[in-house]
């Protein structure tokens, strides 16, 4: 047959492959991410199994006393307490300012979409999850994501049935946080983020709250805690390093905050 005699030189083969590579590279992200979501959706079962095996291989300390709770539960309750305390303080300030107006509690205009993490990628170069919810479930870009009652990131990409969550520790992530005034926290990989150029020293262990963003987050919520505070290149300013307040590597389920959901 004629097609058996058609041979392609190695040079032409390499050029064609490079051309395909550049087409993929220059294609818009919303188009190429469909391939990634399709792969994650098709192989979600083996990906989940692999992740469960790696999670079960991680050592966990057994409880010594029946009255004690696990570390994860303790951190979840601590985060819940921090959020409730912050909401109470905000509510008191609002009541003082607008004592004659009715104020809708923050979460009454909000719904939460429960999702499971299919893959978790947290290393020096990136921090992201792929979850099993997408546009069909009301998810949109830039919505905030909760785990153990703390903010862990935002939706960066949405497919029909899955979505990508960019953690606040991802180098591409910039999150507005409250430290006195609003400051920008930039992810730096390796499960950490930094807030730079602060005028005052911040105590280690201080809880960092994510700022309100109209349409996405109506009340400040805990996002991380300070693990390091050191001088910048300039001696008069400080840089702080923030880590998440939940164990992201062991995350299994998360909640996506959907503001003003359509009925």
């Amino acid at each position: 047959m004629a097609w058996k005699h058609i041979t392609v030189s190695r040079r032409m083969l390499f050029i064609w492959c490079m051309l395909a590579g550049f087409i993929v590279l220059l294609s818009p992200q919303n188009l190429t991410s469909k391939f990634q979501f399709a792969f994650t959706y098709v192989f979600r079962w083996p990906l989940s199994i692999g992740r469960n095996i790696s999670l079960s291989a991680a050592t966990r300390q057994p409880l010594r006393d029946k009255d004690m709770v696990s570390r994860d539960e303790y951190e979840r309750l601590l985060n819940h307490l921090a959020n409730i305390t912050q909401q109470r303080d905000d509510a008191q300030r609002t009541i003082q300012k607008l004592s004659k107006m009715r104020n809708t509690p923050a979460w009454e205009r909000t719904s939460f979409v429960l999702a499971n993490a299919i893959t978790v990628s947290v290393d020096n170069l990136r921090g992201e999850l792929i979850i099993n919810r997408g546009k069909e479930d009301g998810l949109e870009k830039n919505q905030f994501v909760l785990a153990d009652n703390s903010i862990i990131g935002t939706i960066s990409d949405v497919g029909t049935r899955s979505a990508r969550v960019r953690l606040f520790t991802d180098p591409a992530s910039i999150t507005k946080v409250r430290i006195g005034n609003n400051k920008l926290m930039k992810g730096c990989g390796n499960n950490q983020a930094k807030v730079e150029m602060l005028k005052e020293k911040v105590k280690i262990g201080t809880k960092i709250m994510a700022s309100k963003i109209p349409g996405f987050l109506d009340t400040p919520m805990i996002i991380g805690k300070v693990v390091r505070c050191e001088h910048n290149d300039q001696p008069l300013v400080w840089d702080i390093t923030v880590e998440p307040v939940c164990n992201i590597q062991n995350i299994e389920s998360i909640h996506v905050i959907v503001m003003n959901p359509s009925e």
């Binding site: 083969l13 395909a20 590579g21 993929v24 692999g50 790696s54 020096n124 170069l125 992201e128 180098p171």
Partner: protein, 161 residues
Amino acid sequence: MHWFRFAVLVLLATVLQASFFADVNSKPDLLLILLVFFAVYCDTSDAIICSFVIGFAADLIGHTMGPQMISYGIFGSALAYLHRVITIRKIPYQIIAIFITALLAGSLACLLNFLKGEPSPSKILAPLFGIALYSSIVGPFLFLPSAWWMRIRKPGRFGRR
């Protein structure tokens, strides 16, 4: 070249890399190990195709698509051409090949990511070095089962085509 077996092997490595090794800081890059394997044990034309396909698979579990397809393709093809001149048969040579390929491919992928507008982390060299080191240690031990699966009986330099 058994393309179905190649597809199964690449898919298995992709799933393992995305699930089992996803949240480990210093980890071997299974797809990179396969890249060097096929560059060394296949003939040049097949090695070029394999390099780009493995790069595409690496992009599927990465952040953006394109950088690893190009970087794996370039360095996999270069390694295949190099193997025609210098036989990469012994384990020490394979370790060096994996290490250098990991560093070069990782650096080019980071550069292409940066050119695409993705912000890069402040420290790239340390994680790249860690991945290259682990891959070069683990890699040669995965060559034998890969050769068995691909039914390559006489690993070595192939005749020129």
